[in-house]
């Protein structure tokens, strides 16, 4: 018989001879065995659930732990003048940002009025580091009224109200020392980050500030606005001026890196890089030097014509509408808005109660008013083209013009004697043009020839300039008058759109006089000399004079010339087509031009003394707009046409409360022309004509 192997023998023997386990122990061992089996089964099933069934969920959670998106700011494109002079550039800077959701106590609608202790402590600490005041000050928060909180808390809350998940910029342009301090102590500053940003810089400060506009953090409404559709929540976008209208070219595309961070939030490495695309550069038709001279000269006029405080000028090419200069005073330092502006500063500088005179308004195209006699060439065109007057017909200016017992006078009751159209323009006879106004009057809703031609010249309609929020001005006619009367009546009686508002005595709202007076011949007389209800922006007037200079083409004024990539390739050029062209009898045009030329050059011409010895063929017209209870507004419009020069130009100047056009406005125009043609502004020559 074959012997069994030893261990098999052993086992056989063991099972036979081993003292039998008690049934009780056997049962309990079975219970524990089963329990162990069950517990291991639970562990296995739970592991299976986590690692096989839910792995996608946890993989996402793990990635969310350590992958942080980081926006890399793209530099905004430069704005250059026609000669390449930098008007706006982007400079690297470091900004301190606070992310409201990551604060020690995240901001909610409930606690925003009173920052929780932990947050307030953080704000104070941060304020000490970056050198901001910790004192509580009024803080206007949309939907929550005026709260009292520190400057940092205010900035955070204001951003939170706008865009709850966007980061609030509390300080820009911190020093390297502050940067290192904050970066090394990230753990002490939860929710605070220091980011490299690009800060706008305007080397010329207050020159053309309103034209260039400002850039700031996108607002809630702008996020939804399709105009800003490529912008993200943390972007800065142009808010006004060229920065706004050319925003989509200037604004770059922010890069988006993905970085790896450890559990303490320390940067470990970069996973993915999407470098930022810098914005394109915008080249303007503007001539920086001309702009500067215009502003200086206008300032000189304002300073020398008390109580003037503001004014504007426009210089453009009459043939293609390129704007060479556009300025508005008072102005402000454009670099002020490249940093967060505390509310108190904003209020004192720009608020309605400040004495600053609305420096953010670009008076050159956003402020409209009566133009005085500079309107007369338009009246002349209407009278000649409609046949109510002709080029040789004589009018005897006796110093007053009466119609149905209502008499009007020239300024200073001047008596100009027998005048044809040309000399009437030269001496700026009001009586002559009152007469034309009377002759062209029409009670038709849309007025008569005067309204028709003024409309063609662009009065009361937008020029289409490449700047935002253009003022269209106003061209009064019978329909307009009726509308104003109706609105005044509704306001007085608190009906229509004024329902629920307080009532007023007739005329108490100041919309019309409340007498329901219909359109009258007097209205048209006023319009004929550019007074009364007509409202024209300097830019509109410049475009109208450009049409006189070029023979009936209403150009589209524009500042942008082309857009260039950062490496200098032209991406797009801007050459907008004229708005329209109207035909005007060459003889009539010649007569009007002759009148303008005589006014600026011949003895007795309203601006002749300003332009004496000026070698260029200047065609110019003074204007003096009358305001109730204020000094007259000085206007001057002139051009040097392409028939006389290779550098044709139209210049319009207005000086608020600057007195007579020849005194307040014409000298500025002369200096602008001098700079344009000769590269120096020459002398400031104030005229003496006291015509309207």
């Amino acid at each position: 018989m074959k012997e069994l192997p030893e261990d098999k023998q052993l086992r056989f023997v063991k099972q036979e001879e081993r003292p039998a386990m008690s049934p009780q122990l056997a049962r309990r061992v079975a219970i524990v065995g089963t329990l162990s089996l069950a517990l291991f089964a639970i562990l296995f099933f739970r592991l299976w659930f986590l690692q096989v069934l839910s792995t996608d969920h946890y993989a996402l959670a793990a990635n969310g732990n350590f992958i942080r998106p980081v926006e890399v700011a793209a530099p905004r494109g430069q704005i250059l003048d026609r000669n390449g002079t930098i008007l706006a550039s982007s400079q690297r800077a470091y900004a301190v940002m606070i992310s409201p959701p990551s604060l020690p106590v995240p901001i909610t609608d409930k606690n925003l009025a009173h920052p929780p202790r932990a947050d307030a402590g953080l704000y104070n600490l941060l304020a000490h580091v970056v050198g901001l005041p910790t004192k509580r000050q009024p803080c206007h928060v949309n939907g929550h009224g005026v709260l009292h909180m520190s400057q940092i808390a205010c900035a955070v809350v204001q951003e939170y109200v706008q865009l709850p998940y966007a980061e609030a910029t509390v300080a820009t342009d911190i020093t390297r020392h502050q940067l290192f301090y904050l970066s090394e102590r990230q753990a002490s500053f939860p929710g605070v980050s220091v980011q490299q940003i690009y800060q706008r810089h305007y080397p010329m400060g207050d020159v053309a500030a309103q034209v260039l506009g400002i850039v700031s953090r996108i607002t809630a409404s702008e996020v939804k606005n399709p105009f800003y559709k490529t912008a993200s929540q943390n972007d800065s976008v142009g808010q006004s001026g060229l920065e706004a209208s050319y925003d989509r070219y200037l604004r770059g595309v922010d890069g988006a890196d993905q970085v790896k961070v450890d559990a303490l939030g320390n940067f470990v490495g970069t996973l993915k890089e999407k470098p930022p695309t810098p914005g394109n550069n915008l080249k303007l038709a503007l001539d920086a030097k001309l702009e500067q001279v215009g502003q200086q000269s206008l300032q000189e006029s304002i300073d020398s014509n008390y109580p003037s405080t503001g004014g504007a000028f426009v210089a453009l090419n009459p043939d293609n509408g390129q704007v060479y200069a556009m300025g508005s005073l008072p102005t402000y330092n454009a670099n002020l808005f490249t940093k967060p502006v505390p509310e108190s500063v904003y209020k004192s500088e720009f608020g309605p109660n400040s004495n600053s005179g609305y420096p953010q308004v670009n008076r050159a195209y956003q402020s409209a008013g009566p133009t005085g006699s500079t309107f007369k060439p338009i009246t002349a065109t209407a009278a000649l083209e409609s046949g109510v007057w002709d080029t040789t017909r004589i009018f005897d200016d006796t110093g007053q013009f009466c119609i149905s017992n209502e008499c009007r006078h020239n300024a200073g009751h001047a008596v100009d004697g027998a005048l044809d159209l040309e000399s009437a323009l030269k001496v700026s006879s009001d009586d002559f043009f009152y007469n034309l106004g009377a002759l062209t009057n029409s009670p038709a809703p849309n007025g008569g020839p005067l309204q028709h031609w003024a409309h063609l010249y662009g009065i009361g309609r937008k020029t289409g300039v490449d700047l935002p929020d253009e003022n269209a001005g106003n061209l009064p006619d019978a329909k307009w008058r009726e509308g104003r009367n109706k609105l005044e009546a509704e306001c007085d009686n608190a009906t229509g759109p004024f329902k629920g508002k307080p009532k007023h005595p007739p005329g108490g709202c100041g919309i019309a006089f409340g007498d329901n007076r219909p359109w009258s011949i007097g209205d048209n007389e006023n319009l004929a000399v550019g007074q009364g209800d007509v409202q024209v922006t300097p830019l509109q007037l410049a475009v109208a004079y450009a049409a006189i200079a070029n023979g009936g083409t209403v150009v589209t004024p524009h500042l942008g010339l082309d857009v260039q990539s950062p490496d200098g390739f032209v991406q797009r050029t801007f050459n907008p087509a004229p708005q329209r062209h109207f035909n005007i009898n060459p003889l009539y045009l010649e007569t009007i031009r002759a009148g303008l030329r005589a006014a600026a050059s011949q003895p007795g011409g309203t601006s002749a003394d300003v332009f004496q010895n000026f070698p260029q063929q200047v065609y110019g017209k003074t204007g003096t707009a009358q305001y109730k209870g204020k000094q007259d507004y000085a206007w001057y419009a002139c051009f040097v046409p392409s028939s006389a020069t290779t550098k044709p130009i139209v210049v319009v100047v207005t000086v608020e409360q600057g007195g007579f056009g020849a005194v307040g406005a014409a000298p500025v125009a002369r200096q602008i022309l001098s700079q344009w043609f000769y590269g120096n502004k020459g002398t400031y020559v104030a005229g003496s004509s006291k015509t309207l």
Partner: protein, 395 residues
């Protein structure tokens, strides 16, 4: 047929050493397998924990394994039954160690260690095995009066005294291990179901009082973080930045590991420090993230093997003492594995119980190896007894 004549004299000359060398190979395999898993896992998880010394933890753990294994081999060769005589001494040493530790300087708010020149001794760990050996002896002494309520109460009290001593260290997890071991000893010694049930009910009442009624009436027996840990696993997403943050990070680590794991380089939860205590309490999560379901299953299988062998050794012990020691060790292992692994996968509360042989730590590693040495001793003694009996019968 040529080999047979040689074998017979062999058997006659040296039967004892041959049998003595026969430890339970499966149990040894499970222990060595887990030790290997521990070293591999630690190598990946701790390479950045001690800057400039990537193998710091691996080397130390390796030394602990060597010490533990040596002790286990020595113990295996001894007859565990002789330990019964030293039951008072063993129990006294346990109590003394746990008393000494209360006077030790605190490390991160905990007085759990006795600093020795080469080693931080954690008495509560050694208490586990000391408790099993001594309480089993007491139980054996009273084996004839097991049905008495006094016996049950006394044995349970013997486990509760050290448990109460480790709670303030604070080490709630170890206290629960003590209680589990004491209960297991009672269970395998044959205490009646009635009394066992009464114990369970008592325990549940105690928990209810500590966790619910006490706090509700203003008596806080546990520190707030302990409360939070014990109950936090029930709703892990409630306060992700505080106590249950650990659970969420552990779940994230294990879940993102998927079927086969992310590898040492890809395990971001571990590498970037999101996973807490990757070398000790949450090492199972490291395994889960790095080696995936496959890795975790291997580790769990080794534990299953170890548990199975413990149970098997329990049944074959030559005497009641062996059965009870094996039962206590079994409970200690099972409790720790299930609580620790369960904690990392979010089905058990956070109690700071190490994963036997996996978690880094000299005391835990050495104690576990001592326990395995004891099991081996029980195994060898059982086989020797059986062999001598069979020889007696055959001859």
């Amino acid at each position: 047929m040529s080999a047979t004549p040689i074998r017979v004299p062999d058997e006659a000359v040296a039967p004892r050493p041959r049998v003595l060398l026969r430890m339970d190979p499966l149990l040894l395999l499970a222990a060595l397998g887990l030790a290997a898993c521990s070293l591999i896992t630690l190598k990946g998880a701790t390479r950045t924990l001690n800057p400039g010394h990537p193998l710091y933890y691996v080397e130390r753990q390796g030394i602990y394994f060597a010490i533990g294994l040596t002790l286990a081999l020595i113990l295996a060769r001894l007859d565990y039954s002789r330990l019964r005589e030293f039951k008072y001494g063993l129990y006294g040493v346990m109590i003394a160690l746990n008393l000494v530790v209360l006077g030790m300087p605190k490390v991160q708010g905990a007085a759990r260690w006795i600093p020795l020149p080469f080693f931080q001794l954690q008495p509560s760990e050694f208490g586990k095995v000391l408790l099993v050996v001594s309480v089993s002896a007491f139980a054996v002494d009273r084996s004839r009066r097991l049905h008495e309520r006094r016996t049950t109460a006394r044995i349970m009290l013997l486990a509760l005294i050290p448990a109460m001593m480790v709670i303030p260290q604070p080490d709630l997890g170890t206290a629960l291990v003590y209680i589990a071991a004491g209960f297991a000893i009672l269970f395998f010694s044959g205490t009646s179901w009635k009394q066992l049930t009464a114990l369970v009910v008592l325990f549940l009442f105690a928990m209810l009082f500590v966790l619910v009624i006490g706090p509700a009436t203003g008596h806080h027996l546990l520190k707030p973080y302990q409360m939070q840990r014990l109950t936090g696993f029930l709703h892990p997403s409630h306060d992700p930045r505080n106590q249950t943050y650990n659970i969420l990070q552990s779940l994230t680590a294990i879940g993102s590991g998927g079927k086969t794991g992310l590898g040492t380089a890809g395990a971001t939860q571990v590498n970037l420090g999101y996973l807490p205590a990757p070398n000790t309490d949450f090492i199972f999560a490291v395994v889960g993230e790095t080696y995936g379901f496959v890795g975790a299953a291997v580790v769990l299988s080794l534990y299953a093997l170890m548990i199975w062998r413990s149970l098997r050794i329990l049944t074959m012990a030559k005497n009641l003492y062996g059965t009870l020691i094996a039962g206590g060790v079994l409970a200690m292992l099972m409790f720790q594995v299930f609580i620790n692994a369960g904690m990392t996968i979010g089905i058990m509360p956070i109690t700071g119980v190490p994963l036997p042989l996996m978690s880094y730590g000299g005391s835990s590693v050495i104690v576990t190896f001592i326990a395995i040495g004891l099991l081996q001793s029980i195994y060898i003694q059982a086989r020797m007894t059986a062999a001598s009996k069979s020889r007696g019968l055959v001859s």
